[in-house]
């Protein structure tokens, strides 16, 4: 398994040999920013296409198939369409907060995006409290949504934003607690550390019952956190037009759209990191030949592949379950998921303390 930090180190040495240190650092920062932006945009475009194709498959349709081969260029066309739409100036809004909201939503998803472990030695932000940082920054997004709904000065957006706020803060609790369960199991909060711990066996296998419970809760809470699937009542189109982003037009709306798809990737990425070994290949103890074959697949492919497979499951939810009502939604979180989660944490600690894991 090759270490990609060799490449970054080489670039660093190369830059240092031709320019002073501070300039090299600046160039590297700009390069990181550009790379982040490119991956962010390309993944969002891919996800829009992917979701539309998957939805079409579930409904026995073809999905986008006109623009480019198999409709592959459809999301590029959509992006340009969004760019050339007019950004309408509204007269009844709170201008400053209205303009601020998309920034907050995008910054939140960009920061959590940077924490993900993309591959061996390919990770931008690597705090020793990585996963904690991720939870902290991803909750900035809810501020953006609340501001968007409030500043629009529209009844639909206000109701949409409040529903979204209540839903996101409630389910953040479940996300926090299932992450906590896995942090207790890993014994570290550093993203690299968590991935390294899963070298021999992914946590979902080595942590058996408590890890599986934590995973199921994480998946439910993650779906709710991204306002998707059966939990899409903040933007329930039959009741609230489009929820909190009703008043946004053109590219201004595009930011919410972009962040929503990226959040889907981030939620699946974090699930991959915590339960499916991040960029670690599938290893079965004792099967040395098999493990060696798996090592040949690059780590980036492992990470993105696992994340996309999990996203597929989340998209699948959307077409399987009917939309919940707000009281059912909050009951599910506070009366079922939260007590189960607290119990599961105790179970996990017992498993750790008495060494009952693999």
């Amino acid at each position: 398994m090759y270490d990609l930090s060799v490449i970054t180190n080489w670039i660093h040495e190369l830059l240092l040999s031709v320019m002073p240190g501070w300039l090299a650092t600046t160039v590297e920062c700009v390069a990181i920013g550009v790379a982040l932006l490119l991956v962010y945009a390309l993944l969002a475009l891919f996800y829009i296409y992917f979701e539309r194709k998957v939805c079409a498959a579930f409904q026995c349709r073809l999905g986008p198939n006109r623009v480019g081969p198999m409709g592959l260029l459809q999301s590029f066309a959509d992006m340009f369409k969004m760019l050339i739409k007019e950004v309408i100036r509204l007269k009844h809004i709170d201008r400053f907060l209205f303009a601020l909201a998309p920034y907050l939503v995008i910054i939140a998803s960009m920061l959590s995006f940077a924490v993900l472990p993309w591959g061996n030695g390919l990770q931008i932000l690597d705090f020793n409290i990585g996963i904690f940082f991720l939870i902290a920054v991803s909750s900035i997004g809810v501020l953006g949504i609340l501001l968007a709904g409030w500043s629009s000065n529209n009844k639909f957006t206000l109701i949409g934003a409040l529903r979204s706020g209540a839903q996101m803060v409630s389910y953040e609790l479940s996300i926090g607690l299932s992450v906590l369960t896995m942090v207790a199991f890993a014994g570290t909060m550093s993203v690299t550390g968590i991935v390294e711990e899963q070298k021999d066996l992914w946590f979902i296998f080595s942590g058996h019952i408590p890890a599986i419970i934590a995973f199921v809760i994480y998946l439910i809470a993650g779906t709710a956190e991204t306002n998707r699937g059966p939990f899409d009542l903040p933007e329930a189109e039959s009741e609230l037009t489009a929820g909190y982003h009703t008043e946004y037009s053109g590219i201004h709306f595009g930011f919410f759209y972009l962040a929503e798809y990226l959040n889907l990737f981030i939620v699946s990425g974090v699930a991959t990191l915590l339960f499916f070994g991040g960029w670690m290949p599938l290893h079965i103890p004792g099967w040395d030949g098999f493990n060696a074959v798996m090592d040949f697949i690059p780590s980036v492919v492992w990470f993105i592949g696992k994340a996309i497979a999990l996203s597929f499951v989340i998209i699948w939810f959307k077409w399987t379950f009917p939309r919940l009502r707000i009281d059912q939604l909050l009951n599910l979180e506070w009366k079922y998921l939260l007590p189960i989660n607290l119990f599961n944490l105790v179970l996990m600690v017992l498993v750790i303390v008495y060494g009952l894991h693999f």
Binding site: S5, H12, T25, E28, C29, G33, L36, Y40, A41, L83, I84, K85, E86, V87, I88, R89, L90, H92, P102, Y103, I106, I107, S109, M110, L122, L125, D126, F133, W150, N153, N154, K155, L158, R163, A166, V169, E172, L173, G176, L180, V183, A184, T188, T192, T246, G250, I251, F255, I326, D327, L330, N331, K335, L338, L342, V346, V349, L350, I352, V353
Partner: protein, 125 residues
């Protein structure tokens, strides 16, 4: 354990870079849209997108208190998670002692949830 700082740049700097990238994305896209998007002026376009008829009253008004109640409950449990994280990292070394220690904290917390439940704070009325 591997400690990786890409290009040897500190993580806090990189966090600022990532945040600035987000700002740059929004600002650049808005700028491009401002250059190529058409503009047309019509007083009707500035109206709220509601039902077609003129909007009545302010929308930044009172809302259901239930949302607020859930936010307060969330604060309680979220702060609790912050306290639990340092313990979770050390739980392997602490062993049974750590388990007993946190059980007291945990018990108080569960009592809080039970109280909120019995008080009917979790009912959506």
């Amino acid at each position: 354990m591997v400690s990786l700082e890409i290009f040897g740049i500190q993580n806090s700097t990189l966090a600022v870079v990532a945040a600035l990238t987000g700002v740059a994305l929004v600002a650049a896209a808005l700028w491009v849209a401002g250059l190529i998007a058409p503009r047309s002026f019509n007083p009707q376009k500035g109206e709220a997108y509601e039902c077609g008829i003129p909007t009545r009253g302010e929308s930044m008004s009172q809302f259901k208190v239930g949302y607020y109640l859930y936010a307060i409950l969330f604060l309680m449990f979220d702060v609790e998670t912050v306290f639990l994280f340092p313990w979770a990292v050390r739980v392997k070394e602490l062993g049974v002692d750590g388990l007993v220690g946190i059980a007291v904290f945990f018990g108080i917390l569960v009592l809080g949830l039970v109280y909120a439940w019995r008080k009917g704070a979790l009912e959506w009325k």
